[in-house]
């Protein structure tokens, strides 16, 4: 492990550092919808992690800056502080203060209840990349479970592709003129609490969030000369969610569900399903996982989201080789229409310090009433080669 010594007025602070540098190729099969868009984008990404621990590991400072440069798309080129946290752990509580990332949920196809952090959508359409969220988080750890209290102290807007980027409608979202239900401090503050516990085979979570929602409503507006603009609007929402996983032998049963009010009519959404794994097939060559989930949103066809009555079917191959080769291949299909979304992800370590990741995503049969219609010509391959140090 590498150690950097930073001279401090009174003492020396020893930071451990590690990080990633990657180069990405993003290529599209079809011609873009808009002339400004391109068929291929090269991009570079770097993330550094500096950690300092003291007090026998019960206190730590972490700093994780992130930067991506993307050819053509100025909105995708961005800097973020993924983490800048001071953490103090005690016998029955932990206090975590600063920019952090928090994950809630159990499902594989989508992460609807994961609301603490804003999605860094320009990073990847899978919504798994997140912007660092400033917060004060107190966790109370007891026999009856863990109660996390969150005071979220700064709203982050969702990132969207720029004029030259793909994954957008012919009109790009006007990220420079967002609107909010509340302005000033009200906009920036949010509150959340989550109780989580595990009882035998069951892992349970119950949470509530109040504040400016992370998922914007997109307002379509037309000015006097007929130009369309798409404005992200962030309302104040209340969202209550549960997440449950039962681990029964090789079966994993999963359910996430939420109720949200404040963003149009109150609605329910859920993701539930199962995962079954066959271990050590063909003389320990690989494990094969079968994943199936149902994706539901009570707003139905009016839901401003892609999956409201859909089914995921996927295969997960985890090879036992020393290079940790993994392949995930799946399709999400709409029960009411013919639309399908295909997703293949594969990764493999090269040598000791490199990793190659490849993703292929295709859309088919999308109706023009579907919010995913804007992605109809965005079938793509993404390859990223990363160096880890």
């Amino acid at each position: 492990m590498c150690t950097v010594l930073l001279a401090n007025s009174s003492k020396l602070l020893a930071f451990e550092y590690s990080g990633t540098i990657g180069i990405e190729s993003l290529g599209f099969i079809n011609k873009p919808l808009a002339d400004a868009q391109h068929n291929h984008y090269l991009s570079g990404v770097a993330e550094l992690e500096l950690i300092h621990e003291w007090d026998s590991g019960s206190q730590s400072l972490a700093f994780v800056p992130f930067y991506r440069y993307s050819q053509h798309d100025s909105k995708r080129s961005h800097f973020d502080i993924r983490e800048l946290t001071w953490l103090k752990a005690s016998d029955n509580w932990e206090l975590r203060t600063g920019f952090r990332k928090v994950f809630w949920g159990v499902a594989e196809s989508q992460h609807i209840i994961d609301i603490i952090n804003q999605t860094d959508l320009v990073e990847n359409t899978d919504t798994e990349d997140k912007l660092g969220q400033p917060m004060i988080n107190l966790a109370l750890i007891h026999d009856w479970g863990t109660l996390d209290l969150y005071f979220l102290t700064g709203f982050r807007e969702r990132t969207f592709s720029g004029t030259e980027g793909r994954f957008r409608s012919p009109v790009a979202i006007d990220v420079d003129h967002p609107r909010f239900e509340e302005n000033g401090a009200q906009r920036h503050l949010a509150y959340a609490a989550r109780w989580s516990h595990n009882i035998g085979d069951w892992d349970l979570g119950l949470a509530h969030f109040y504040g400016t929602g992370r998922e914007p409503t997109i307002l379509v507006e037309q000015d006097a000369s007929g130009n369309l603009s798409l404005i992200p609007y962030y309302p104040i929402i209340n969202q209550t969610s549960i997440d449950i996983q039962a681990t029964k032998g090789a079966w994993l049963w999963k359910l996430e569900s939420l109720m949200r009010s404040g963003q149009g009519e109150t609605f329910l959404a859920g993701t539930g399903g199962l995962e079954y794994t066959f271990y050590n097939l063909f003389d320990n060559l690989f494990d094969l996982g079968l994943v199936s989930e149902y994706l539901y949103d009570s707003r139905g066809k009016h839901a401003p989201i892609v999956f409201q009555d859909d089914i995921l079917a996927a295969l997960r191959f985890g090879f036992s080789d020393t290079q940790s080769t993994q392949i995930l291949a799946g399709v999400i299909f709409d029960r009411g229409s013919n639309s399908k979304f295909y997703n293949i992800e594969a990764s493999r370590r090269l040598g000791d310090s490199f990793k190659l990741e490849i993703e292929a995503r295709f859309f088919s049969g999308i109706l023009n009433t579907d919010p995913a219609f804007i992605l109809r010509d965005d079938d793509h391959f993404r390859a990223e080669l990363s160096y880890f140090f």
């Binding site: 932990e94 994950f103 595990n198 079966w251 000791d352």
Partner: protein, 259 residues
């Protein structure tokens, strides 16, 4: 006649041990081994794994393992991966149970996600090595049935040879045969037989060192796979015992801040 007399003599003076069945003898040996290793309370250790392919290519993994000893139930352990670098920060929390399924969680640092995982995967390779998950799980007497086979010396050290049959589900082995040092009650060698009964792997334990005047730990272990001709070496460093760990060091909150 002489032999008969000798047999009579032996049976009179060591009648107790002769009365034991091989199964009882095996259990007695293992119980003593387990007893001598009980009471360490907790430990922390660094582990380097060196994986050798058939062609001689090497790859390495570095981990840090904390263990909490729980008397009467299985141990708790937290394993933090340091290398290969792409899985740095990944952490694995496990509550071992003798016969009911272990409870296991994996922390994925890129997503900050804790995943409860199935513990059915006993026989799969751990990080692509020749060790499977069951080889690295804490030892519990009730997980096996035993049979004493014979006495035999290894490198001049007198050993009990004991056969162990897994009683838990999903083991990759039909049986294991261990050579146990009669003096120190430590395992010097174990042979692993696959479910078809063929010799699969041999593990050798080397450079035992005594900690806290009581606990013997091998500094080096070598697992050779006879069927695919690969091997994995374990190198243990910086053993610490009685560090003062508690249940709190083995919960999901701690898992999430493992680095």
């Amino acid at each position: 006649m002489k032999i008969l007399l000798l047999a009579l003599f032996v049976s009179l003076f060591s009648g107790q041990s002769l009365a034991l069945t091989p199964e009882e003898q095996g259990l007695e040996i293992i119980t003593e081994l387990d007893k001598r290793d009980t009471g360490f309370a907790d430990s922390k250790v660094k582990l380097d794994m060196v994986l050798k392919s058939r062609g001689g290519d090497e790859s390495r993994r570095a981990l840090e393992i904390s263990t909490l000893e729980l008397i009467g139930e299985g141990d708790k352990s937290l394993t933090i991966f340091d290398s290969p670098r792409d899985i740095k920060g990944t952490a694995f929390l496990s509550f071992t149970h003798a016969l009911s399924p272990d409870e296991q969680w994996l922390f994925l640092p890129a997503l900050k996600r804790v995943k409860r995982i199935s513990s059915n995967n006993k026989s799969g390779p751990f990080l692509g090595s020749d060790y499977s998950f069951e080889d690295l799980t804490s030892f519990e007497i009730a997980r096996y049935s035993y049979r004493y086979l014979k006495d035999e010396a290894i490198d001049g050290i007198d050993c009990f040879v004991v056969e162990m049959m897994p009683q838990y589900e999903f083991s990759g082995y039909s049986r294991q045969i261990s050579w146990i040092d009669k003096q120190r009650y430590i395992i010097l060698k174990t042979e692993y037989y696959d479910r078809k009964g063929a010799l699969l792997k041999t593990q050798e334990f080397k450079n035992y060192k005594l900690y806290s005047d009581k606990y013997w730990r091998a500094q080096e272990q070598l697992m050779t796979n006879h069927q695919n001709e690969k091997s994995t070496q374990l190198l243990w460093q910086d053993y610490q015992f009685g560090v003062g760990l508690s249940d709190r060091d083995f919960d999901k909150s701690t898992l999430k801040r493992s680095r």
